[in-house]
Amino acid sequence: MVEFLLGLAYRFIWHPMLPFFEWSDNSFVGSYIRSKTWVFPVIETIHILALTVLLAGTIVINLRMMRLMMRTQTISGLSGELNPFINWSVGIMLTTGAALYSSEALKCFDNPAFQFKMFFLFLALVFHYTWYRSTIKVNQTTLSKGWTVGVLSLILWFAVGWGGRGIGFI
């Protein structure tokens, strides 16, 4: 059943994007990054520094929702302070990620780790900027809701992270 759905997703969503991947691969950004050996490592380092901030921010908010950390602070207080850093990190990661991707777009197209990462990145971003966003605006939440939303957020972002690490290995 899962394989059937994945097959559908590949046929109707992923494969039709091939022209975009080809365009990305031939783009100026992609060619420039490939032309100089030091550019990719620098961009990837920025990607990882931003990842550190993104994970830290979401982990603190999620552990607070799970009542495992910073219980003297309200959820909305924590999220109010951390959201600017989280949002900037997402922006930086999407920008640096797009640059890294365009330097090897066709390789990414065929890479199952990249497909896995994009699937979870899509879910993580949608979740983060809809249900999650309204949940973290409150001062307190029930333990069950805190755990549901918190654990879901952790799973989604960590899946993106693992997928990202897998790109280099596959």
Partner: protein, 163 residues
């Protein structure tokens, strides 16, 4: 040359070889080391920004750091364990890499910065927990910490490339 001999010995051990030649264990270790950054360096970054008076300004510095510290410590223990195992699997590569040597240097400097902070300004934190901006020593320690841990991460990432 004692370090080199130690690395050569380490390289040939059963544990080191198993990790290095594994299909799953090395990727899982490396991925964990990377994702552990969020809890270790990430929580330190939040503390550092409070030390610089840039975040959680309405909360006492003692509350912010106190709330984060147990997780920061747990995070760093995790990073040291995964890092040691990764090193154990490729000690010669690491020994010969300028980037890894720089990473070790930055780690030592970051540790020294933390030690200086804890031996001096941290002892009086109760007195300046509400103060904005925080005293110069705290701001300086926070800035140096962010800089040095950022350099550790950059050097660590480059180690994977240019060995």
């Amino acid at each position: 040359m004692a370090i080199l001999e130690f690395c050569q010995w380490l390289q040939e051990t059963h544990v080191g070889t198993s990790i290095r030649e594994s299909t799953l264990l090395f990727p899982v270790l490396e991925g964990s080391h990377l994702l552990g950054l969020g809890v270790s360096a990430g929580t330190i970054a939040i503390s550092d920004m409070r030390m610089m008076g840039l975040i959680f300004k309405k909360q006492k510095a003692t509350d912010v750091m106190g709330g984060l510290l147990p997780f920061t410590i747990a995070g760093f223990v995790f990073m040291m364990i995964t890092g040691a195992l990764l090193f154990w699997s490729e000690p010669i590569k690491c020994y010969e890499s300028i980037w890894f040597r720089l990473k070790v240097l930055f780690l030592i400097l970051a540790g020294a910065n933390a030690a200086i902070f804890h031996l001096t300004i941290w002892r009086t934190m109760d007195r300046w927990a509400d103060q904005l901006p925080p005293p110069a020593g705290a701001r300086w320690a926070g800035f140096m910490s962010l800089l040095l841990w950022g350099l550790v991460i950059a050097a660590g990432r480059t180690t994977a490339y240019n060995i």
